[in-house]
Structures are given as structure tokens and as C-alpha cells.
Symmetry: C2
Subunit: 479 residues, 2 copies
């Protein structure tokens, strides 16, 4: 039964099936706009269409691709639809998809410099490029004491930053463990991943101070300072502050200047999380969002959200690479090699939680070169322009109101009719298949979030979505 | 300057460039055997060939692909070469690469069931398939209280298992933090990721007991039991034991039966790490390696090592899914949805450290369907046969000796001439470009590791490698 080369796909078969799949994906992009954005399957539908047991014999690729079309596709919520306005964008693009394909094909495991020098050196270089493209502080450039690294997500970046801050503050947490005295700080609007990191790291969520926000949902520096003083006075050990540039709920911008000064005075690690909003800094006119970043110990943003790069690709910089490596490095005999021992190279395994790592910089490199700085600026500006347009429509409509300022690409708004009306509106819109939007709670009230950043979202999609929202509300409320 | 659709790659351009890249990858597979396995660039060479600044204007795809060939390729250590015998395999395959391409193209973010039901349900189903394919205990099947999930790596799986064990043992570690009393256990030969997890989780490496091994490097159950008793007597709280099926250094097999009994008696979480060796269980005759797994609370192995699936893809199962979810779940308002609230669906974000997740089960599904169970068994058997053949050659050669038993696909051996001879031999072999092998220390002596599992490794590659090793040793030692 075994063929010449066993059961492997031959290069010739790979060419043929690869082209078929490339064609399928090109057609997917052409038709995705016509598909219901939010999947309509019910729980268990997809599972029920899949056999209970793995196949004993090989199956032809055509059969698999047929099942992709018939079984998988109906179970997809289309993050790549131009009508996807939920959560945050996860905006893939042609060059990014091809970069990921190359990464898979080279099959490199980049845990150490020696296990593929290009994987390490391209990553450092592309992260340096972004320091320039985004106007980030020089201290994050690899020619300084700092440098950048790609993480899978902002959650993991925050965890690594917390671990570095924890170890810098208490010195022996890696060896003796946490002792219940460490304290971390983030605003009450910070992302849930901060609380998750505080739990994972053994600091404990009781020791996460959720700092009050002002009326615009920005962290109050005076409240942060008071909390730090109180904890110090009680003999506790502040180790980590997370400020957010663009909170998840409403894109609030924590004031980095005063927060940075306070952290410097207290010698506490300052991590800045700009997961979605950070991409806006590619346009000089939006760099005000990161004013004060010069004092941050670490910073991250996600090209896999709003820079045309498919998940996963979080860019994470530290000002002092040794603080991060000290927190995360372990060197067993089976990983030793001449180059690592010499200290002349970077081994990115020591910059992250897992040991293994993909060649993720390829897709980012492909994206930056395909679009060029001007292309990236063009599209980010356009998304922000569309969000501002949408916000104007909300502002001008008597039945709707903005629930928060709209600095960039996220519009938080609601129908004036209250939570029940908004919940019904949300459900009807998502059931329509015409768009997908999600919600949050602001000031205790259900709030709709309209997030603009999908690669192919154009003015017509946003205009159509607004029409649809207004019409649906009118039909529901009878007004 | 902006084109019709802005700067995006059009579907037609994607078709063209996608085909070019597919062809490039097919040619890569055809020629990889002829390339030096270990990259020959020196530190900084790749970086020096890359511009200091990102391009301002878009660049054509052809230019990027040219740089892949001229700048990136020389900086690649070829994990996909059939002459790669270093570390562990990371054996990609055609169907796996195409599965990753599809995942990138669909661009799905599978954090919640609702954000793409197919992403969750296919993953659960494929992990169930593997329960059958590998003969794993029923408790890991999703029809029980347990289920499986894909993690990026065995490091992350171990961390999640430790967090679940920590919380189950001490109840409030997520809220009050660690208090220095928790203790974890693994053999002195366990992977460095266990120590890393113990550090990250705030348990502290001083509280990791490195249990003695026997002469075959297997954890000694009596030593484990003694350590547990001692810690309990001292008022400490044992929370986690990691047993290894196939240690990294020498593929030693910890005895799961007695370890499982001891863990059950003490109510301690037992995690079993079979990162590379686990794939062997696809052949019934090798399932003895996991005898006793019925008592494990969690288990993982890596299809991205030795099951023809490109990195990253670690399969992780728990016997009690609620213990894992309890340790990792946080539910902010902006992630709420009807299906999650109903409890009828799985939200895999609660089964891992990051929030976001790719559609990783696609590549595993493609692989299993392409090869079928019989194809997978065929190739795993062949790799093990080749390793056994290699071990016989070592055993029969007067200048070489085996350094450890060879249960599966890893041969630990050394020249009888001592450490300096082995180091010189290692360096010369790797500099030759003919192969890449790595080392470890066993019983204090430098030991060469010959790991067989790359997708296209055949009898001729292993035979040629052995010839090369013998010839190089003869030339070096003059014997």
C-alpha cells in the first residue's frame, strides 16, 4: 500500500494542492463580503458533521478541501469580512498570509540564534524598523540596552513584563516564589489579561489594585500615586504598573507622562499596553497617544489587530533586555552552543514563556515591504476617518448617543432607549448576517462597540452598517 | 499614488504571488537535502544584509522573494533537511503547511466559540480522534469530564497544568497569590520548561524537588514518595508532579504506574509530558511507554515534533476540564455572549495563557486525513527502525558506545575517547554541512544525541550520517 516515498505528499502534489488552496483563498476574499459575518451554526453542528473517528486510510486532498467548503466555512465567523466591526480587527492581508505560508514551509524552530540565525536577526531588525515607523523611544531600539521581540499576544507580553518587574522588585521570586507581598497596578478599565497575568504569576488578584479612572475612563495618576504610597507604607512591594493606550472597552488613553514619573519615583516597572491603538502611531498626527512612553520599561502593540498581519503577532519591547532575560532564562546542557555561550547573539527563547518559536517576523516583513510606510499610513488614516464619520452620524442622530470619546477607530455608542433596546438591537443586527458588532458596559450601561479596522472595510461598508443600525432600531422601537 | 483599492494586494495578485511562493516551497523541499544543514552565517551577517530603516514606498513581491532566497535562506538552519538529527524533529509536511496556510487565510481568532464555532469544534474533535489513535485513556475524551486543547508548546501545557494543580491544591492562589509553601516535583532529567513554569507561576524553583533518577534516568518512585512525605510533614503543600515519557536528554521513560498511584494517594496533580515520544503511541506496539497514564490529570505531546505538523501544535488533555477552567477563566463584559453564558459551548480562551488563538486544528486535521492512521504508523515505525539500526552500528563499533537505552527514535552515544574528542567530532560534523546533531551531558560526560524523525529522513540518510561520523572520528583521532 505504501507508495514510493511512503505516504508523504510529493513536491508535485504540493504544487498542485497548494495552487488549489491559493485559488480557494483568493475566491474566499472575493466572496467573504457576501457571507453572513457571524456564523449561524448552533452548538454541536460542526462537530456533528465530522466523523467520530480518524480515518484509517489516507484521504485525497480534494475531499478535505470539499469539507472545508461544506463543513468548516459555515462554522466560520468572518473576521476577514469588511463588515466585521466586533471586538477588535484581526486584519490579515495577502502579504501577511504569504509570509505565514513561508514560515510554515521553512519549518524553522527559532528558539536559539543557532537554530536559524535569520529567524532571530530578521525579527530584531523588523522590530527596529517599527521603532522608527511608530516613533517609539530610542531605548527600545536594539542599538540601545533594549530591543524588541515578537510574542503571540499582548496577554503574553504583559505576563513577561510582569515577571520581569516582579523579579526586579523582589529579586528572588524566581527561586523562593512569591510571598503575598507583591502588588501590581492597572486601571479599572485595563484588559482582563492583566488580571490573568497577576493570577498566573502567583502575585494574586487580591494584590492587583484596580486604579480609579476619570470620566473619560483614563487612569487617575493621583489615585495611582496614593495606592503606591499606601502599599509601601504597609510594607508591601509594588512591582508592576500597566498603563493602557486605548482600553478595550472604550479606547481610553491613560496619561503616560504623569504615570511614568510616578513609576520612576517608585522604581516600579511600567508596562504600556497599546494592543490595538498602537498601530495609529504609524501616522505622526496620532503619536500624541504615546506621549510619555520614554519612561516605560516595556511596551507592546499588536500588528495582528490593526496592521494587516494575521494572528499571532504581538510586538513587545523592553528598555532593559537583561531585566527580561534574567527573569526568563534557564540554560540546560542540551541547548548549549558556542554562539550562545559567547554572548554574541540573542536567543529569543529567553524573552518569552514557551521555548519554541515560529519564524513570525517573516509575515511582518512581508507586510511592511508590500505596503511601505506610506501604504500603512494611508489605510490607518482611512480607518480613523471612517470611525470619525460614524461618530458624527451617531452624534447627529436623536435616538443615539456616543458613550465615550472617539480618539481613533472605536466608536462606543448606544440607543437612548436603554439596555433592553440596545440588547435587542445588537441581537437583531448580528442575526441579520449583515455585520457583526459586540458590546461592553460603560457607566453601568450596555454599550455597543463599533470597531473599524478590517483590511477591506471601506466607506460604503460603514455607511451601509449605519443605515442598517438606524433602520433596525426604527423597526424595533417603532419610532 | 494610492491605487483603486488602496495599497492592498488584490485577489489576482494574491493568486499570482501565492503560486510563486508555493513553487518556491516545492523547490525548497526538492533541494533542501543539498544545503548545509546548520547555517554558516556568522552573528550579524543577516542583519547586515537588511536595510536599517523600513521602506517608505511599497516594494514588489518579486523583490521580497529574491531577498528570501539571497538573504534569508543562507541564515536558515534546515529543520526540514532529512539530515537534521539535532535536538528533536520539527517535522513539517505538505498537508500541514497547507493547513497553516488555510488558517492564515481564514484569519480566524478562535478565543470564544462564537468567534468561529468551527475553530472550537474541529479542535475538540481532532483531539478526540487522537485519543483513539494513540490509545489514550477515555478520561481525556470530550465525552467524559475531560477534553483536549491545542497549546503552542509543551512549555505552555506544563504551565497550564501547574496552574490548575496549584489552584486545586491551595484553592486561593489565584486571588491571594502564592505563599512560598507550594511544592512541585519532577525528575532531575525533566525538561527545563518545568523549572521555567515553576518560576513563572510564583511557586519558585527552590520549591521544585528534582527527584533522583535510576541508572536508566527514570524517576525513582520511592524518592518521589519520600519527598512528598517530607514536604507534607514540614507543612508544605505538594501541588504538582510532572512525569516524563521520553526525557529530552536521553528519552528515559518515567514509570507512570507507581508515580500515578503515589500522586493519587497524595491528591497531587499529575502531569505527563511526552513531547516527542508521545507520537510513538500511534503504533500499538509502542503504547507500553504510556502504561499508567490512566491516573494522570493531564497529558501532552507535540505533533509539531514528530507527527508531520509544523510548529506550533502541542496537544494537551486534562481529565477534569473544570479544574483547568477554574484556574484560567476571567470573563469581562466585552467578551460576554449568549452561547458562553448558556454554558453549552467551550471557550478555549479559558484553557490557555493567552486570550487569542489561531485555528491550529486545521493543520492537524489535514495531516491526519492525508496520511490516515496507517500512513502515520508507517512513518513512525520506519523512524524507530532506523534509530534501532543506528544504535546497532554504535554498539558494534569499538570506538563508540551507547550512553543510554534506545527505546524509540533517539540515540545517545559517544566516542570512547572522552569529552574533548566528542566535542571536536560534534563541531566537525556540524561544520561539514552534511548533518546537524547536538549534545547533552549524561553521567557527567559529553554525549552526542542522534534524533531521527524528520519527515523525509530515509535509510540512506542515516547510513550516510553514520559513515560520516565514523570517518570523521577516524580522521580526527588518527585511529
Amino acid at each position: 500500500m505504501a507508495r514510493q516515498a511512503g505516504f508523504h505528499m510529493t513536491p508535485e502534489e504540493f504544487r498542485r494542492h497548494g495552487r488549489e488552496l491559493i485559488d480557494w483563498l483568493a475566491r474566499y476574499e472575493e466572496r467573504v463580503e457576501s457571507l453572513p459575518v457571524l456564523s449561524r451554526v448552533r452548538p454541536g453542528d460542526v462537530a456533528a458533521a465530522l466523523p467520530d473517528l480518524a480515518p484509517e486510510a489516507p484521504e485525497p486532498f480534494e475531499t478535505v478541501l470539499r469539507d472545508v467548503e461544506q463543513v468548516i466555512l459555515p462554522g466560520i465567523t468572518h473576521w476577514q469580512s469588511p463588515n466585521f466591526f466586533a471586538f477588535f480587527p484581526a486584519n490579515a492581508s495577502g502579504p501577511s498570509i504569504l509570509g505565514e505560508l513561508l514560515s510554515a514551509g521553512l519549518g524553522v524552530q527559532g528558539m536559539l540564534w543557532v537554530t536559524s540565525p535569520a529567524c532571530t536577526e530578521l525579527e530584531t531588525r523588523v522590530l527596529d524598523w517599527l521603532v522608527g515607523l511608530l516613533g517609539l523611544p530610542d531605548r527600545f531600539h536594539s542599538s540601545s540596552a533594549g530591543a524588541g521581540v515578537i510574542q503571540d499576544s499582548a496577554s503574553s507580553a504583559a505576563l513577561c513584563a510582569l515577571l520581569a518587574g516582579r523579579e526586579r522588585a523582589a529579586r528572588t521570586t524566581n527561586t523562593t516564589g512569591c510571598d503575598g507581598k507583591l502588588v501590581a497596578y492597572a486601571s479599572s478599565e485595563a484588559h482582563s489579561s492583566i488580571e490573568k497575568a497577576v493570577r498566573i504569576s502567583g502575585v494574586g488578584s487580591d494584590n492587583l489594585r484596580r486604579i480609579e479612572v476619570d470620566e473619560q475612563k483614563r487612569m487617575r495618576p493621583d489615585a495611582l500615586e496614593a495606592a503606591l504610597h499606601e502599599d509601601r507604607a504597609a510594607g508591601r512591594v509594588p512591582c508592576f504598573v500597566c498603563a493602557t493606550v486605548g482600553t478595550t472597552s472604550s479606547q481610553a488613553l491613560d496619561p503616560l507622562e504623569p504615570i511614568g514619573k510616578i513609576c520612576a519615583e517608585h522604581g516600579v516597572w511600567l508596562h504600556v499596553d497599546a494592543a490595538m491603538a498602537g498601530s495609529a502611531a504609524i501616522c505622526p498626527e496620532f503619536r500624541y497617544i504615546q506621549a510619555g512612553l520614554e519612561r516605560a520599561d516595556s511596551y507592546c502593540f499588536n500588528p495582528h489587530k490593526w496592521l494587516f498581519t494575521n494572528f499571532d503577532c504581538d510586538c513587545f519591547w523592553v528598555a532593559d533586555r537583561h531585566a527580561l532575560i534574567d527573569a526568563l532564562s534557564i540554560l540546560p546542557d542540551y541547548l548549549r552552543n558556542r554562539e550562545s555561550d559567547s554572548g554574541a547573539v540573542t536567543d529569543y527563547r529567553d524573552w518569552q514563556v514557551p521555548l519554541g518559536r515560529r519564524f513570525r517576523s517573516l509575515k511582518l516583513w512581508f507586510v511592511i515591504r508590500h505596503y511601505g510606510a506610506e501604504g500603512l499610513r494611508h489605510h490607518i488614516r482611512e480607518h480613523i476617518r471612517l470611525a470619525q464619520q460614524f461618530a458624527t452620524w451617531v452624534r447627529e442622530h436623536e435616538c443615539f448617543e456616543l458613550a465615550a470619546p472617539v480618539p481613533l477607530n472605536l466608536v462606543c455608542f448606544r440607543h437612548v432607549g436603554g439596555d433592553a433596546v440596545n440588547q435587542a438591537l445588537l441581537d437583531r443586527l448580528n442575526a441579520s448576517g449583515e455585520m457583526y458588532i459586540t458590546q461592553t458596559r460603560l457607566d453601568g450601561r450596555l454599550t455597543l462597540r463599533f470597531s473599524i479596522g478590517q483590511t477591506h472595510t471601506e466607506a460604503r461598508h460603514v455607511a451601509r452598517a449605519w443605515e442598517c443600525i438606524v433602520e433596525t432600531a426604527e423597526r424595533s422601537t417603532g419610532s
